[in-house]
């Protein structure tokens, strides 16, 4: 299989970030207290990465995919438990897109992808801890299963 270019990989990451931001909108309203604050911080982190990617892709003259009005969630978010489960899953999925970008990038772009992979993997672990789910970690964060 042909290695996607850095631009293609980052375009795919941007679409994943759009979906993560949408999902956190559904997640946050089902949480309270510290968990809700954590969801808002997580959503803000995904927005920052989205904004940076839009600038980056635009500057490079690449295609900036449009955001969509809605994204299909893997299951309905109806309560705290399903919200926390989806939050961990959103982090793992976006981490997987950044992980895929590692092979297509070098230098500072690879550093950027690795920082996002690490941050999201750690946040997925925090969400599992909040949900009381074990094990807290996966052996290969971001690797397709």
């Amino acid at each position: 299989m042909r290695q996607p270019s850095a631009g293609e990989a980052l375009t795919s990451v941007l679409s994943a970030e759009y979906a993560a931001i949408y999902a956190y909108g559904r997640i946050g309203v089902r949480l309270t207290g510290a968990a809700r604050d954590a969801a808002h911080q997580a959503e803000a982190a995904h927005r920052r990465r989205r904004d940076a990617l839009v600038v980056q892709l635009t500057t490079a003259g690449g295609v900036v995919p449009p955001d969509r009005a809605g994204y299909a969630l893997p299951y309905p978010v109806t309560d705290r438990a399903s919200a926390l489960r989806l939050a961990a899953e959103v982090e793992e999925r976006t981490a997987a897109h950044w992980r895929a970008a590692l092979a297509s990038t070098t230098g500072s772009e690879r550093d950027q992808a690795l920082a996002a992979l690490v941050e999201y993997a750690v946040r997925a672990t925090r969400w599992r801890k909040t949900a009381g789910v074990t094990p807290l970690t996966v052996p290969f964060p971001g690797r397709p299963t």
Partner: protein
């Protein structure tokens, strides 16, 4: 002319001093040569081994196999010392073993059956100390994997990225 004369005289004086230093330096150098001759006879053998092919440079992933196995061993000894932590530590030990297995597969080498070196220190007597020691090990290991990922060819970058991230999540899980 007025200036060159005193300068020339100054030079003469300095030359005398310099030659004094030179004699001392020569004596010291001689002493070093004697010492060097005493401690480095083995390096002389290299002079006669020029026909040998230089060994291939070691694969940078190779030390990471050992590092992963050493981490797994550190978790196992902490879990043995503190059985109440075993449920938390065992999955992480298994993750490190899985990393070693995957790295060995990429390298095309057999996975060593045991860690290259037993953990250098015994686990701390109290559980909190043992967890803190493991966190410190993970932090160092995350840094070495980060450097390896940054320098890796494309086909290895994703695997190394996952190992970096795993080591970061382990620190979080140990908090």
């Amino acid at each position: 002319m007025v200036l060159t004369c005193p300068v020339g005289m100054g030079k003469t004086t300095q030359r005398d001093q310099a030659s004094g230093h030179s004699r001392r330096k020569l004596l010291r150098a001689g002493a070093l040569l004697v010492l060097g001759g005493a401690v480095t006879p083995l390096t002389g053998c290299d002079l006669f081994d020029r026909d040998d092919q230089p060994p291939p440079p070691p694969d940078p992933l190779r030390p990471m196999v050992d590092e992963s196995l050493t981490l797994a061993a550190a978790y196992q000894s902490s879990a043995t010392a503190h059985p109440e932590l075993a449920a938390r530590l065992n999955p992480i030990a298994e993750a490190h073993t899985a990393h070693a297995r995957e790295l060995a597969r990429v390298l095309g080498v057999a996975l060593p059956s045991t860690a290259p070196a037993a953990p250098t220190t015994a686990p701390a007597a109290n559980p909190a100390g043992a967890l803190a020691a493991l966190r410190a090990l993970e932090k160092t290991a995350q840094q070495s994997a980060t450097a390896a990922c940054a320098a890796a060819p494309a086909e290895r970058a994703a695997l190394l990225g996952s190992i970096v991230a795993a080591r970061a999540t382990h620190q979080e899980a140990l908090k």
